[in-house]
């Protein structure tokens, strides 16, 4: 069911009024002469407007994230300066004035948004020597490296595994791969990560159990593996299902009827179309990686954003948590956009400008 949703959301678009033209040699319907195919503007124009539109559509979402996280943290019973011992009221008032917390809510919000637009996420309430921006700048490269490596690994192994299982449908290889994939999907990252540390770090002693020395790639192997496994498993399943679905399409029958070798049929005719759901999955995969990075960074002691976020949550450091959540939300939106772009590049119906 999920998969159907993905396919539908990625290919079903409202038709632009009055934009009906003639077929184009590159479109998927090219074999059917005379069938009307949407043409909108020029190709480059479409992609640019498409990106602009998507960027524009992302602004309300991001705005909502900022507003909601701001409101929620201000709703909190007790302020950031509630310690075990109550502060004297004068000191408390001074502290609140210093951090601008004595102003009315809308003024505080205005200040915060103005700061955000200039890349200033405000001061951290607990790490008093750092601003939130500094902590983000500190953790972001680590988290991005980790996440990008995990996504790439998931794609690089998941796609071939899915194709293999699809071709070998019903055979031992297929069953084995799919059983592994079910296991990979079902085991959560916070179990996989310590298990990997136990096997490869403690028993086999191949890799460090935890730690981070800048520029030492062996520190990244286990975290990336732990993050990539569930994504890899999901991509393999998605790829297999989508390939089998595509292999039933009329153009595949046409390709076979022309006597093309099976290899060419699968790789050149089925694969591009079958990849669409996998590419659409890149956005939820990115969300999974971002959430998983909290666990992995905690388990393996990596100084990324996730660890700052968890520490911030433990310390009730509102500005830090808000800043991190906003950055994570922006990353997720960016990944959605990238996935959409990749889909439009893969899908000839979108590529040819059928999209409004």
């Amino acid at each position: 069911m999920d998969q159907i949703d993905i396919i539908q959301t990625s290919t079903d678009f409202p038709r632009p009024p009055g934009a009906i033209g003639r077929g184009n040699a590159e479109s998927a319907d090219a074999g059917l002469p005379g069938k009307p195919v949407m043409r909108y503007k020029g190709r480059g124009m479409t992609i640019v407007t498409f990106i602009l539109r998507r960027l524009f559509a992302a602004i309300p979402t991001l705005g909502l994230v900022v507003a909601l996280s701001f409101l929620l943290t201000r709703l909190a019973p007790g302020g950031p300066f509630d310690e075990e011992q109550a502060l004297p009221p004068e000191i408390r008032a001074n502290l609140e004035a210093a951090y601008g917390l004595d102003a009315p809510l809308h003024v505080q919000f205005g200040r915060y948004v103005r700061g955000l637009l200039q890349g200033d996420f405000g001061p951290s309430y607990k790490y008093r020597d750092f601003t939130v921006s500094e902590l983000i700048a500190d953790g972001l490269p680590v988290s991005l490296t980790l996440g990008a490596a995990a996504l790439l690994l998931g794609l690089a192994l998941g796609v071939p595994a899915g194709i293999w299982a699809g071709i070998a449908r019903g055979h031992a290889a297929d069953r084995l791969l799919m059983a592994l994939a079910v296991a990979g999907i079902s085991i959560p990252v916070f179990v996989v990560a310590p298990l990997l540390a136990l096997v490869f770090g403690v028993w086999l002693r191949w890799l460090p159990v935890a730690g981070w020395v800048p520029g030492r790639p062996s520190d990244l192997v286990l975290p990336v593996l732990a993050l990539a496994l569930p994504i890899l498993a999901f991509i393999a399943r998605l790829m297999r299902a989508s390939l089998l679905e595509t292999m039933r399409s009329p153009w595949i029958r046409a390709a076979r009827a022309r006597g093309l070798p099976e290899r060419a049929v699968v790789l050149h005719h089925a694969l591009p179309a079958a990849l669409l759901p996998v590419v659409s999955y890149a956005a939820p995969a990115a969300a999974a990686v971002l959430a998983g990075s909290l666990v992995v960074e905690t388990q393996f002691g990596l100084p990324g954003m996730g660890r700052h976020l968890v520490q911030g949550a433990l310390n009730r450091d509102y500005t830090l948590v808000m800043g991190m959540v906003i950055v994570y939300a922006a990353l997720m939106i960016a990944f959605n956009l990238l996935a959409d772009l990749a889909c439009s590049w893969l899908d000839p119906r979108i590529r040819d400008g059928r999209r409004t």
């Binding site: 909502l64 996280s69 929620l72 959560p188 540390a197 403690v202 969300a287 976020l309 939300a329 997720m332």
Partner: protein, 282 residues
């Protein structure tokens, strides 16, 4: 109609041995979580000074060993399972009630009300949920109640979408028309025709929400922002075990195995119920 649903469920369970095994396993686990800690001889926070960090299956009276403080791991795991299950059941119930009410209302009213309500759901969907759950735990403090609210706050979205789609489709079905033609009142149509047909997908989705809720709870407890010591949950037991990898790997193995068992069983059961109850497949 209701007899029909019961028959479908029974038929599915008979057909699918694995689903029966999963249902039995789940029932046993729930029973163990509820009754186990009373029947076993140790309390969950009782320290056995003579047997600290002993491995499982040694003749110490602790079947599955003890942690580094000498607390019985089996008892703690059962307690953790109890807490995790309680939160997950409650959160699923919250999701169920809000989701069914919201979705059924939107689907029933159709038109502008429906569009507006679903727009709201779409907006919440677009938020990075895990991170908002974390914000909620920061705001309301850590503890079981916060977790319940935070998980329930996002859990109902998918349920609302499913129920709304079903309600929209059901309104147009011939048997509803037939019932109207037969002179049935709104109440009779809703209770005898709409709700029984909604029930299948709702049950299926609820059994699939349950493991999701357990996973979110364990995820947060693993990070230390969920259930706090001395209260045990599967998540903080796993986190404990992950910290003692080198000296006491069973501290990770026992709660992790328990979690996987529950999640696997729920997912298998949900899948096979979906095969049995999904009206589109029949």
């Amino acid at each position: 109609m209701r007899g029909g649903l019961g028959r479908d469920v029974r038929a599915a369970l008979v057909r699918d041995r694995l689903a029966v095994a999963c249902a039995t396993m789940l029932a046993l686990l729930v029973l163990a979580a509820v009754a186990g800690p009373w029947l076993l001889e140790f309390d969950e926070d009782q320290v056995d000074w003579a047997h600290m960090a002993t491995p499982p299956f040694e003749a110490t009276g602790h079947w599955l060993g003890t942690d580094r403080l000498g607390r019985d791991l089996l008892v703690r795991t059962l307690h953790g399972l109890r807490v995790s299950l309680a939160i997950a059941f409650a959160a699923t119930l919250v999701a169920l009630v809000i989701g069914v009410a919201f979705g059924a209302f939107a689907g029933y009213r159709r038109g502008r009300t429906d569009a507006l309500m679903m727009r709201f759901v779409d907006t919440l969907y677009a938020l990075p949920q895990v991170f908002f759950v974390i914000i909620l735990t920061v705001v309301f403090g850590r503890g079981p109640l916060t977790l319940l609210v935070a998980i329930g706050a996002f859990g109902w979205l998918t349920m609302a979408r499913i129920v709304r789609g079903q309600a929209l489709a059901l309104r147009e079905r011939e048997f509803v028309e037939a019932a109207i033609a037969g002179g049935a009142g709104t109440l009779r149509i809703v209770t005898r025709h709409v709700i029984p047909n909604l029930l299948g997908p709702v049950i299926v989705y609820a059994t699939l929400t349950l493991p999701q809720a357990i996973l979110v709870e364990s995820f947060l407890s693993f990070l230390g922002i969920g259930i706090q010591e001395p209260l045990a949950s599967l998540g903080n037991l796993i986190a404990d075990g992950a910290g003692e990898l080198e000296t006491a790997p069973w501290m990770l193995a026992v709660p992790a195995a328990c979690l996987l068992l529950v999640v696997f069983c729920c997912n298998f059961l949900g899948d096979s119920l979906r095969d049995a109850l999904d009206p589109r497949d029949q």
